[in-house]
């Protein structure tokens, strides 16, 4: 049958066939190297657990609060608010503020996230709306440089009766306490 096909067309088909075969061999040749490079951006834990997808870097949990029978809020030190489904046992939604030296508090449907580098976030878990307040940390605008590595943490306290939020940052010391209306 192949003999009936004109020579140049036959050659073209053969070339295409060889290209396909070559691509398959190339894929199998490069796969281990690709896998090695992919693994190089994964954490040790993910590799040893045999995870295929790159997971989030592990962060300390700083807030856990059940908002109903189904969902639990889990706040982590990177400023992420995770909506953990208790029945499915997995995170179904995440809002990440990518903060540093984070503290979290909740009041009703609102989550307050304070951060040494970004100030204060007010997050409504129902609507998903966010309000950002830049806090005038002590010496922040006075010193030439604000050394992020000197920030020990932020501490936050809520006064639900007075509807006040008290906030301070550990920069050399916890010198100034800010009072913010919730």
């Amino acid at each position: 049958m192949m003999r009936n096909i004109p020579y140049h067309i036959r050659q073209k088909y053969i070339h295409h066939g060889i290209n396909v075969l070559m691509s398959i061999i190339l894929f199998f040749t490069l796969f281990p190297i690709g896998w090695m490079i992919y693994n190089s951006v994964m954490s040790n834990q993910d590799i040893s657990l045999g995870r295929i997808k790159i997971g989030r870097a592990p962060h300390h949990t700083i807030l856990t609060e059940k908002i109903n029978d189904q969902i639990m809020l889990v706040g982590t030190s990177d400023g992420a608010i995770n909506f953990y489904d208790l029945s499915q046992k997995k995170v179904i939604k995440r809002k990440n503020f990518k903060t540093f030296a984070t503290a979290m508090e909740t009041k009703g449907n609102t989550v307050y996230v304070s951060a040494g580098d970004k100030g204060l976030y007010k997050y409504d878990i129902n609507s998903g709306r966010t309000k950002h307040t830049m806090v005038p940390w002590p010496n922040y605008h006075v010193e030439d440089k604000w050394f992020v590595n000197k920030i020990a943490g932020t501490i936050m306290a809520l006064d639900e009766k007075e509807e006040k939020l008290w906030l301070t940052v550990g920069y050399n010391n916890y010198g100034t306490i800010f009072e913010i209306d919730t």
């Binding site: 070339h15 060889i18 290209n19 075969l21 070559m22 061999i25 190339l26 040749t29 490069l30 281990p32 190297i33 896998w35 090695m36 693994n39 590799i47 040893s48 657990l49 045999g50 295929i52």
Partner: protein, 324 residues
């Protein structure tokens, strides 16, 4: 003999010039060899290591232990290692050459992106051997290794094989457990790492073959196989011969990949995972039996010298065929 002396006298200045380099090279190559052979006659272990070359002389005792003493710890597993090394060497050498030939012929065409594809194919060869061992060691893991994940979790290969009537265990196989699968698991990474070199050599050889031969064969109505078997294959014989020698030597003395794949030599690779060099290393440097380790090394070296001599004899035939 007279002519040799006469020639030496005639070119004495030339011989004087090359003498320092020759003596240096001989010392460099021969002194470790002679020392290794001498060590094979000594009872050199952790108790006598302080005496080093003055350790008790046991003559052929180490060789006798290896060859005839079934209770000798050095002998246990040695035959397995020898069998594995034999199959490993043959399969890796021939497999690498076959794959290298196929890809070299594919690359010896005109197509878009040829330079990039040629470069990409060489990538495995630039990965260091110990990295290859570590990488494939992870890839062969039973539950979390990517090979089992692809075969069993994604492709469901056990279901596919069962569909074709092949009974397969539903559990993922443990490739590095020391059963016959392990030999395959160490052969594949070695072929993967080594074949680009073979391909490169064959590609260079292919580019040296004149297209006139193929055009003449086309006119004579030869098909693809005939062109390969009657033109390409014979004209590449010198390259085949060199690759065969390189492959045999490299693969018989293969060590890094297996050593790294089984936890940096921490464990015994099993009945089907052990190779001669890994076995010698384990016995000599982890069991501190340097004398017997040296004896096995000398035996292996003797076998390899015989193989190289046989190879050289056949290579001379290849050369004479080529010149005639």
């Amino acid at each position: 003999r007279g002519s040799i002396i006469a020639e030496a006298k005639k070119y004495k200045i030339a011989y004087a010039f090359i003498a320092p380099a020759t003596i240096g090279m001989m010392l460099l190559h021969l002194s470790p060899l002679v020392q290794g052979i001498y060590m094979s006659f000594l009872k050199l272990n952790q108790f006598t290591l302080f005496a080093y070359l003055k350790a008790p002389f046991v003559g052929l005792g180490n060789y006798q232990k290896i060859l005839f003493d079934p209770t000798s710890p050095m002998r246990i597993g040695l035959l397995d290692a020898a069998r594995n090394t034999f199959f490993y060497t043959i399969i890796v050498t021939l497999g690498g050459m076959a794959l290298g030939m196929i890809v070299a012929m594919m690359l010896n065409r005109q197509f878009k992106g040829r330079a990039i594809v040629r470069t990409l194919f060489i990538f495995p060869w630039i990965v260091p051997q110990f990295v290859v061992g570590l990488l494939w060691g992870f890839m062969w893991q039973q539950n979390n290794g990517i090979i089992n994940v692809i075969l069993y979790d994604w492709l469901k290969i056990n279901h596919i094989l069962q569909f074709f009537g092949i009974a397969v265990d539903a559990a993922k196989p443990f490739w590095l457990s020391g059963d016959p699968k392990t030999l395959f698991a160490i052969i594949l990474p070695t072929i993967w790492r080594g074949w680009p070199f073979t391909m490169l050599m064959l590609l260079a050889g292919l580019q040296g073959i004149s297209q006139d031969y193929y055009e003449a064969a086309d006119i004579d109505g030869a098909n693809g196989w005939q062109k390969f078997w009657l033109i390409t294959f014979p004209l590449l014989k010198p390259v085949w011969a060199i690759l065969m020698l390189f492959g045999l030597i490299f693969n018989v003395y293969s060590f890094n990949i297996v050593y790294m794949m089984f936890g940096s030599g921490a464990g015994y690779p099993g009945k089907w995972g052990d190779l001669m060099m890994v076995n010698i290393f384990r016995n000599a440097f982890q069991r501190y039996d340097f004398g017997t380790g040296a004896a096995v090394s000398v035996m292996l070296m003797t076998i390899m010298i015989s193989i190289v001599m046989l190879w050289y004899r056949s290579y001379k035939n290849v050369e004479s065929d080529r010149s005639s």
